[in-house]
């Protein structure tokens, strides 16, 4: 475990050093994140000027949901997607060979090899929103709720990671997988709203085809005290299964991989 953290820190440091050469992108990222946040907040404020609760979600609870959306979205865009996009590139160019020969677990290396550190801003914005929503609501969630929130947040991140890893691993067989990741990105946008407002077919897609529901709605439910024990247990079980399945699939794919270079 300590090796993993050390590796993560090393990659993060390398990314910081690389990025500091382009300081203008910091300001661009700030403006971009703020535009994103402003759009979301403006839309919500208009919606809540016409209703007091959206399917039972009050304005401050929906703010919590947006906070989770930014938190998870920032994490996905900071670590998960950059690494997976690079993996697809490496498979196509045959440079994955170099990763495989390194003395660390290859899945770990490809998962943290590329970090877009400016997306940390979205993570911070997400946390700020969560705190803001809590202050607005006027009461702190209980320790059990916080624990459930932490667990579901982790489970949501694990489910998304496993899902994206699975898609990226398909590139061992199909070359043009980067488009699939773009589809995933646009589907994630639907997570801005609790999935229970969508018609059942769309909810099913967002739960089981692209698991946005687990990543955003479930943690927000945990924090707003509407999560049942059954859903909590199911989410954790699904996260464990997804991680295991993507791990097995990765091992299987690596054996199939024969290198494209030379």
């Amino acid at each position: 475990m300590r090796t993993y953290l050390r590796l993560l820190w090393t990659f993060f440091r390398v990314s910081i050093l690389g990025e500091l050469a382009y300081r203008a992108s910091f300001w661009l990222q700030i403006v971009e994140s703020l535009i994103d946040l402003g759009t979301a907040l403006a839309f919500i404020s208009v919606v809540f000027s016409y209703t007091r609760a959206l399917n039972g979600w009050s304005a401050d609870e929906l703010l919590t949901l947006i906070g989770v959306y930014f938190l998870i979205g920032g994490t996905i865009n900071m670590i998960i997607l950059p690494g997976m996009n690079r993996l697809i590139e490496q498979v196509r160019q045959g440079t994955l060979d170099y990763v495989l020969t390194r003395p660390e677990d290859a899945q770990l290396l490809v998962s943290i090899q590329q970090i877009d550190m400016w997306k940390l801003l979205d993570v911070l914005l997400g946390i700020a929103l969560l705190v803001g929503a809590m202050l607005w609501h006027g009461s702190l969630p209980g320790p059990l709720q916080l624990l459930a929130f932490a667990l579901t947040l982790l489970a949501g991140a694990v489910i998304i990671y496993s899902f994206v890893l699975f898609l990226a691993t398909l590139s061992f067989w199909y070359v043009r997988m980067e488009n699939i990741l773009v589809i995933f990105e646009s589907m994630y946008e639907a997570g801005r709203w609790p999935v229970d407002i969508y018609p059942s077919w769309l909810r099913a897609v967002l739960t089981f085809v692209v698991p946005v529901a687990f990543a955003v709605t479930v943690p927000a439910e945990a924090l707003t005290a509407r999560l049942t024990w059954l859903v909590l247990a199911a989410t954790l079980l699904l996260a464990a299964l997804a991680l295991l399945a993507s791990r097995l699939f990765w091992r299987f794919a690596i054996r199939y991989y024969s290198g494209a270079s030379s």
Partner: protein
């Protein structure tokens, strides 16, 4: 004139051949284009249901019709020129375009038309699916429907002119991405794509009345989904024409000044 038609025919042919190389992008575009309206319809239908079935005169099937109509109008009028100009200027791609004996805007118009023609089956499929999934109720009068097509054409001309002028900013600025993003958000709100304009707070409604954006999307979309009174139709056409003339003037002026600034780098 025949000369220009020949130019357009050739441009269309090349653009279509080019686009066919990226068939996977069609699927991505299908999902992206369907998801926006699906989310908006779901959100506003939920609001309507929570408030007893109707809000501001819209019920769920009315919302569905409105947002499907805005999706169609947006597809027809949307451009992406302002994302491309900065590269054109920076990498000297303008130089060969300027050497041609026709104004470069024609190549862009032809490229956009080609793309829209190719996407027609995709957008048709999305429309059908959304219509069935959300039980959209279109209620326009025949007269309102008859004015839809001219309104749509004017909306395209207006939006293309304004966005091409916006793109010309790349002659003066090297970083246009932030401006473009702001523009996209403003259009999203004030053209009526995220919500019918009557849902905006009153001060913002006054602002939209003095801006060109509603004539680019909301006006044709309302003609198609709910229909408008004769007077509103007339006002709409007048506003579209006025803004188009203003836009064309602005475009000519900016283009002349920008060309003087342009010094090719590389290319």
């Amino acid at each position: 004139m025949t000369h220009l038609i020949a130019v357009y025919r050739q441009q269309l042919k090349t653009a279509i051949a080019e686009q066919l190389q990226y068939r996977a992008a069609l699927v991505i575009w299908l999902i992206e284009v369907a998801l926006g309206p699906a989310v908006s319809i779901s959100v506003w239908s939920t609001v309507a249901r929570n408030e007893g079935g109707e809000v501001n005169g819209y019920n769920p099937s009315g919302f569905a019709a409105y947002f499907i109509a805005t999706m169609l109008v947006n597809y027809a009028t949307q451009t992406w020129v302002f994302w491309e100009f900065s590269r054109r200027v920076r990498e000297g791609e303008f130089s060969p375009l300027l050497l041609r004996p026709v104004h470069p805007i024609h190549a862009d118009i032809a490229q956009h038309l080609a793309y829209k023609m190719l996407m027609l089956p995709v957008i048709g499929l999305v429309t059908l699916l959304l219509w069935l999934a959300f039980h959209a109720g279109f209620t326009p009068s025949p007269a309102s429907l008859a004015t839809f097509l001219p309104a749509l054409l004017l909306a395209f001309a207006l939006r293309f002119t304004l966005e091409w002028t916006l793109a010309l900013l790349a002659f003066w600025l090297t970083q246009v991405n932030v401006i473009n993003q702001l523009y996209v958000v403003v259009v999203l709100f004030l053209s009526g794509q995220l919500l019918p304009l009557s849902f905006l707070p009153a001060p913002l409604q006054t602002v939209t009345a003095w801006l060109p954006f509603q004539w680019m999307v909301a006006f044709p979309a309302q003609l198609l989904s709910t229909g408008l009174s004769a007077q509103a139709v007339l006002t709409g056409f007048l506003a579209q024409l006025l803004w188009l003339l203003l836009g064309l003037g602005l475009l000519t002026l900016t283009w002349r000044r920008g060309l003087k600034r342009y010094t090719a780098v590389g290319g």
